[in-house]
């Protein structure tokens, strides 16, 4: 028995020796398996690897875990909203800022346009349209004023920068879209790297008129080249389109290997964006502007017609002036709407102002500056001579090769004036008055002839006039008076000699005396009637120059008379 027990004991000891380490390990494992703390600690160590394996095998994990995350997120927000707010703040901030800036930009844009259009005629029209359609005025303004054109749209794979699709508007010159797209992607990366920017490049501005709008999605982006002034909500439309592309072709985008053919299904939608944006309004001219233009045009027309007409009138006037004798145009100019002419004017020339027609004076203002001068034009010499010489109607003036010819009858006075003045008249080289009859001289000669025929008869041996000789005496007086006047006019000095005659009866001495008495008798008579005595001389010639041969008593009576003889006295 003892040995059995010993055997048992040693077996036990052997077993213990042999199996104890395994037993201990099994106990340890049991402990690990039973102790949730230890298991949790261990799971924590493997969890990241476990999750990454799970992700590799598909996204079951995310589906499974989603309700838990949702619930815990809700719980967390309920219990500790601040920490959640703190956590999402960095993400929320830029998002909110972006939204606000977009809104503010939109507001500024509309405000700008509202201000621009509120007070115009167009503005009134749009207000009416807003009232009629029940839409907001701002909306109407936007509708009418945004003039822009989306020229190109690129759909680009974010990662590789490869063009998935590219559409262009008509008549737009483009570069190779693959290269442009690649460079655009490179530039985005460049900007992001260079400026350590968290946000993506959203807009490239090219001059004042063109910009590239980039709207980025998870796997693809839309880049649109836009000319003009696009509204901010265009970006929202791009975003919506991009979202749609991601929803429909998310997988293809994610696993994109370079075959872009499947994205052509979005081409029409991209094209719609092009077409839809081409809302370039035709610039209609406002009626006010048309009126203004018409007014300006008609004013210009009137002005043009007026100018043309004035010019025509002016030219016609100038040609009339040039044709006119005695007017010489030196220069013309137009100053402050007044046509001015400078020149020389002969006093005999027509009045230049009279050459402007009365109706023309309404259209054109003409001012002449004329300096007097003598024109040597033959046509003017004659009138000038007439004006200066003032010939009596009985005189005719003529001009022949510069020689002024006078013909007709004129007074001595005028003839003197002619002789004195004619050579001094400008243009007159010489003169001739051979054709001029001295009217005073003629009359004087006639009167002298008349007086030489007058006889006054006396009674026999007496100084008494025989009867009925009053008429003869009156005639004598008249003639003497006439001669007295004419000799002054004709500038010929004459003296009238009163010759007393007797018949042959009686002594010579007696007859001599008687004849003188008779002459004296007439002399006295004339003086009494106002004749200047210096103008008269008396002489008794008795029977020396009988008036008639005494053949009978009747003839004797003829010699009892007084006759008259005229003497020319040379002028001193």
């Amino acid at each position: 028995m003892g040995s059995e027990a010993v055997e048992e004991k040693s077996l036990e000891a052997f077993k213990k020796l042999l199996l104890q380490p395994e037993k201990d390990r099994i106990r340890q494992i049991e402990n690990r398996l039973n102790d949730p703390m230890i298991r949790a600690k261990e799971t924590g160590l493997f969890l990241p690897e476990a999750i990454s394996f799970s992700v590799l095998n598909g996204n079951r994990l995310s589906r499974v875990i989603q309700p838990v995350i949702d619930a815990s997120l809700k719980e967390s927000v309920r219990n500790n909203p601040k920490s959640i707010a703190d956590a999402i703040f960095p993400a929320l901030g830029p998002g909110i800022r972006k939204a606000i800036s977009a809104t503010v930009m939109g507001m500024v844009q509309s405000l700008n346009q509202l201000l621009n259009h509120s007070f115009s005629f167009q503005g009134m029209k749009w207000r009416f349209e807003a009232f009629r359609t029940g839409r907001q005025f701002a909306e109407i303004v936007l509708l009418h004023t945004l003039v822009y054109k989306v020229e190109q749209i690129f759909l680009i794979h974010n990662e590789s920068g490869i063009v998935l699709d590219h559409v262009t508007a008509k008549d737009v010159v483009i570069q190779d879209p693959d290269l442009v797209s690649g460079m655009l992607t490179a530039i985005q990366d460049f900007v992001k790297d260079s400026f350590d920017a968290r946000d993506d490049l959203e807009t490239l501005r090219i001059g004042s008129d063109r910009s590239v709008w980039i709207e980025k999605g998870e796997h693809a982006l839309i880049a649109a080249v836009i000319r003009g002034n696009p509204p901010v909500d265009l970006r929202i439309r791009f975003r919506e389109l991009l979202e749609e592309i991601h929803i429909k072709s998310g997988m293809a985008l994610e696993k994109f290997e370079g075959d872009a053919s499947s994205f052509s299904v979005f081409r029409e939608q991209l094209k719609d964006e092009l077409g839809f944006q081409e809302r370039k309004e035709k610039q209609k001219l406002s009626p006010l502007l048309i009126c203004l233009i018409l007014a300006v045009l008609s004013l210009a027309g009137i002005w043009g017609y007026h100018t043309l007409r004035s010019h025509q009138i002016w030219n016609a006037y100038l040609s009339r002036l040039k044709a006119e004798k005695g007017l010489v145009i030196l220069s013309v100019q137009k100053e402050k709407g007044v046509y001015q002419v400078f020149g020389l004017r002969d006093p005999m020339a027509h009045d230049p102002d009279a050459l402007i027609q009365p109706e023309e004076k309404f259209r054109i203002k003409i001012k002449g500056h004329w300096t007097p001068f003598y024109s040597l034009d033959p046509e003017l010499i004659l009138p000038r001579s007439r004006q200066i010489l003032k010939p009596p109607p009985s005189i005719t003036l003529d001009l022949s090769q510069g020689i002024l010819l006078a013909s007709g009858q004129a007074s001595r006075d005028w003839i003197d004036i002619f002789q004195k003045t004619a050579p001094t008249i400008p243009g007159v080289k010489g003169y001739s008055d051979q054709g001029v009859l001295d009217m005073d001289r003629e009359k004087l000669d006639a009167a002298l002839k008349e007086i030489s025929e007058i006889k006054l008869y006396f009674e026999n041996n007496s100084t008494r006039f025989i009867k009925a000789q009053e008429d003869i005496f009156n005639k004598l007086l008249e003639t003497v008076q006439n001669i007295q006047e004419l000799q002054i006019k004709a500038k010929i000095q004459v003296q009238i000699m009163i010759l007393g005659h007797t018949d042959s009866s009686g002594t010579e001495k007696w007859n001599q005396r008687l004849s003188r008495d008779r002459a004296e008798m007439v002399f006295n008579h004339l003086i009494v009637h106002g004749i200047n005595p210096y103008f008269l001389t008396i002489s008794g010639i008795g029977t020396k120059i009988p008036l008639k041969e005494e053949t009978g008593a009747e003839e004797r009576q003829y010699n009892r008379a007084v006759s008259f003889k005229v003497f020319h006295i040379p002028l001193t």
Binding site: G161, D178, G182, I187, D193
Partner: protein, 165 residues
Amino acid sequence: MIKKKICMLGAFAVGKTSLVQRYVHSIFSEKYHTTVGVRIEKTQVRANDADVDLIIWDLHGEDDFQHVRLSYLKGSSGCIYVADGTREKTLLTALNLKEIAENTLGEIPCVLVINKLDLKDQWEIDQSILDDMKRKGMMIFQTSAKTGEEVQQAFQLLTQKMMEK
């Protein structure tokens, strides 16, 4: 039409641009290299019965490869590394660039082009090193700007590899 983005990397002055000039077209000037650090080029290659547009991101080469913008690499389907046979250091740079690119992109098809074959007598790179690399599966082309044929083959092979992947 299949389009593939590939990157062309290499140390400074290994002659990348002159090497490909005959086979690519671009609307951008050389200036982009020094400003933005990349110049986009394009060429068409026919591989596996399909025309493939290669959009080549010709990255500005720098000896200090830290300056290559990694963000330009993303989305590439393949890479061309260029080294200058007359400067051994550029091979090192190319291999370093390869490592950096693969860190960013994972393993993608690539080819190594050793340039300036016309100056073969001045080469610093030992043929044995290249043979060794070939054995490890690296596709290597030796070329010069004058006999640029190999470049086209490099594009061709790279495209095939990309299409097979």
